[in-house]
């Protein structure tokens, strides 16, 4: 682009010829002081790696919300998300609502494996026909069949199996704050398979167990569940179906609130809203410091190269060509370094994703990053380039 425009300005040579002359000049300008160039390159890369991670956090969370299933509904008590029980009796009325494909009762409780720090989320479900349609889990058919056959069987999430070293056939003892009928708080399940979960909001270390068995074995709370998972026949029906389900229990002692997984994800995202400001502040501070550092270096570089630029002008380079030459140098360096930094961020994201859910690097983040790099280059090189363009040959050469 820049090169083409400079041709119009010069108006004498073919584009190819000018490019042939310009590219080696830019290249040699960049590598005139290799040490300095490498340092600037690294500095810009580091700044944009940080930009990528922070911005990736922000946009990644938004993506996670958009990716959350809108066609899976969670029926919970209107008073609280999980603390309130709902009667099992609601199941049949919910199943008979038009547009409901599958409805599965779910009971959640917590426990730990060996040490209190090794928490396990226990999700009790009834493995009725097509039950997996109401969840975001991916389970192999063989494991599904084994789970339906075994009363004390458990499917463990891949992450939990990996963390605690559980294998199929293992008998896993868990301690829980939910008591059994015999007053004991020791529970044990047989691992019959593993599963993966595509929902970013889902627990990491969770296991699935049979609700009929659990309901039978527990001391209190029999006949109630935390929520019902509902899959609708058509995603477009999600809202009317949710309203119809909530109408079932209106004005009763156990009013329900039905929300899609996407709505729940949005609720979670709102809570980290305060971080937006922080991320903007950090990115702003880093870019400002970077701008200043590159501008100083460009200035320094132009000052040192005054005689060389004067020679170029003597050879017939217009003011404009020299101006563009300096800008092109800064642009090449900054954009290449920013691209490298963003690539680095993409590589480190999986590491950071262990601490923060929903990190990802969508194309828009990369585009914004490169845009910022162009801006940094143009702003920091503008003054040095203008100085170079206004150089007077005689006095510049006289300095020597």
């Amino acid at each position: 682009m820049l090169v083409c425009r400079s041709t119009e300005a010069g108006g004498r040579e073919s584009v190819g010829g000018l490019r042939m002359r310009f590219l080696p000049l830019i290249w040699s300008g960049i590598w005139r002081k290799p040490g300095r160039t490498v340092l600037i390159f690294l500095q810009v890369s580091v700044a944009f790696a940080l930009f990528g991670v922070l911005q990736g956090l922000k946009t990644g969370v938004q993506h996670a919300v958009d990716a959350a299933r809108a066609d899976l509904l969670l029926v919970h008590s209107r008073l609280s998300l999980i603390m309130e029980g709902l009667p099992m009796g609601l199941l049949e009325p919910i199943r008979s609502v038009a547009g409901v494909r599958v409805a599965i009762p779910v009971e959640l409780f917590g426990g730990y494996y060996q040490k209190p720090e090794q928490g396990v989320g226990i999700v009790a479900v009834t493995p009725d026909k097509d039950w997996t349609a109401a969840f975001t889990f991916t389970i192999a058919p063989g494991y599904l069949a084994a789970f339906a056959r075994s009363r004390t069987g458990a499917l463990v999430r891949d992450l939990a199996a990996e963390k605690y070293g559980w294998k199929i056939g293992d008998h896993i003892p868990l301690k829980s704050n939910t008591l059994q009928k015999n007053g004991s708080n020791d529970w044990a399940f047989d691992v019959v398979g593993t599963f993966a979960d595509s929902d970013v909001g889902g627990g990491r270390y969770i296991i699935l167990i049979n609700l009929p068995y659990y309901d039978e074995a527990r001391a209190t709370g029999k006949g109630t569940v935390n929520h019902f998972n509902v899959a609708v026949t058509d995603p477009k029906l999600a809202v009317p179906v949710a309203d119809a389900i909530d109408r079932l229990s209106a004005n009763s002692s156990h009013e329900t609130k039905t929300e899609s997984l996407r709505e729940l994800a949005q609720l979670n995202v709102q809570q980290i809203g305060d971080f937006d400001f922080l991320i903007h502040a950090i990115v702003g501070a880093v870019l400002a410091a970077l701008l200043f550092a590159t501008a100083t270096m460009m200035m320094q570089s132009i000052r040192e190269r005054t005689p060389e630029l004067a020679v170029l002008k003597t050879l017939g380079f217009s003011d404009r060509a020299v101006f563009l030459l300096v800008l092109a140098e800064a642009l090449t360096l900054c954009v290449a370094a920013a691209a490298f930094g963003l690539a680095l961020a993409t590589l480190t994201l999986p590491l950071a994703a262990r601490f923060v859910l929903g990190l990802s690097m969508p194309a828009i983040t990369v585009a914004i990053g490169l845009g910022c790099a162009v801006l940094v280059a143009l702003v920091s090189a503008a003054v040095p380039a203008a100085l170079a363009a206004r150089l007077r040959i005689v006095s510049a050469l006289a300095q020597r």
Partner: protein
């Protein structure tokens, strides 16, 4: 002696010439300011949260919870809760009542005052003895205490500020019936929304037979071991006792670790960038002094003195950045209220954090100055003097 004299002479020369290299100096300053500013501000979240959580901790308060890692959300049957009252080591009120507070908590929905967003707050049911434990901390600003057996609530002032529907006399629906807000109170340093009502009334409403945790005030902090032994040796009790401090720290450990990780992760990346920038600036400063340095070498200045003087210079350039960064963090973020993930607290920029910032600046100055200093010491005398 010669080393010291050479060092001082060099340092004076270096610092004196800095005004000619204003761009490079400012670039270093800005880099360090940014790094320290960001690091200190982010760490201020952790210190703010910590002092808020542990602000009202008492050494004589013990939290009793059920086995099984229930934390504050355990399940303690009524018989076991009543048995705790008879354990040794517990302080007693003037009337001889053991200071044992039974608690039952449920999360309830509220709406943010400003945004109308839905959030969950904890409705805490407690027994009257709670009010006798460190009563100096809780004081009513308006209204009165709830009466057990009636559907009445008292709310801490942060609730009134943040959420809609906590005005005096406001009615809130809890489990299908209306509960009236009858009092507002302040509680120590706590900035969380706390809504309290009578535990037994709340448990009846929710059809629960188990308390979620028990707070116990000891006669003396040293009685903890006596109390714990008695608790654990009783075969009828499936409970465990922890100091209030340990319990709270455990509860916030994960969140605190996340905040620290984020602060140091971001801080290290920015520091790396700023150090690279500083190396570049210092190189350009050294390059500009090639002739002076060569001259000094020619008249017998030692390499060690040159290295030491440049390192000292680079540290002196970094330090104002640290002060400026900490100062800006304090100016902009000290006492700023944030509420990530539903916790409410204020950022706190402390002297300790400023010290961490200064330590980082020192490290950046030393690391950034090392290579340029070595180059300064190795300036080839003849070529440098011949060069124009």
């Amino acid at each position: 002696m010669t080393f010291t004299r050479q060092f001082i002479a060099l340092l004076r020369m270096n610092l004196g010439g800095l005004t000619d290299r204003l761009g490079a100096v400012l670039a270093i300053l800005m880099g360090v300011t940014c790094t320290v500013g960001v690091l200190v501000s982010m760490l201020a979240m952790g210190t703010g949260l910590h002092s808020q959580v542990l602000g009202d901790v008492h050494d004589d308060i013990v939290v009793v919870t059920s086995h099984g890692g229930g934390g504050f959300q355990g399940s303690i049957p009524r018989e076991e809760a009543n048995a705790v009252r008879d354990l040794p080591g517990i302080a007693r009120s003037k009337d001889g009542e053991p200071l044992v507070g039974l608690a039952f908590a449920v999360p309830v929905e509220a709406r943010r005052r400003v945004t109308g967003r839905r959030v969950f707050f904890e409705l805490a049911g407690s027994t009257m003895t709670f009010m006798l434990m460190h009563p100096e901390e809780m004081h009513f600003t308006e209204g009165r205490m709830y009466r057990p057996g009636l559907h009445e609530l008292i709310a801490s002032n942060p609730c009134v500020r943040q959420f809609a529907g906590f005005e005096l006399g406001a009615r809130r629906e809890v489990r299908g019936s209306d509960w009236t807000v009858v009092g507002h109170f302040d509680q120590g340093h706590n900035m969380q929304c706390v809504v309290v009502t009578d535990a037994d009334t709340l448990m009846t409403t929710f059809g629960s037979n188990t308390y979620s945790h028990i707070s116990v005030q000891l006669a003396l902090p040293a009685d903890f071991d006596v109390f714990r032994k008695a608790l654990e040796s009783n075969p009828a009790l499936h409970l465990e006792a922890k100091h209030q401090r340990d319990m709270l720290e455990e509860n916030f450990k994960q969140f605190n670790a996340l905040l620290r990780f984020a602060a140091y992760f971001v801080g290290s990346i920015i520091a790396l960038g700023a150090t690279l920038g500083a190396v570049n600036s210092l190189y350009s400063i050294v390059d500009a002094r090639r002739r002076e340095l060569a001259t000094l070498r020619a008249i017998g200045f030692g390499g060690a003195a040159i290295v030491a003087a440049l390192l000292c210079e680079s540290v002196l350039l970094a330090l104002p950045g640290a002060l400026l960064g900490s100062g800006l963090a304090w100016l902009f973020f000290h006492r700023m209220a944030v509420s990530p993930f539903g916790y409410n607290f204020e950022l706190e920029v402390t002297a300790g954090l400023a010290a961490i910032g200064i330590a980082w600046a020192l490290a950046m100055g030393l690391i950034g100055g090392l290579l340029p200093a070595l180059r300064a010491a190795r300036v080839p005398v003849t070529t440098a003097l011949r060069a124009t």
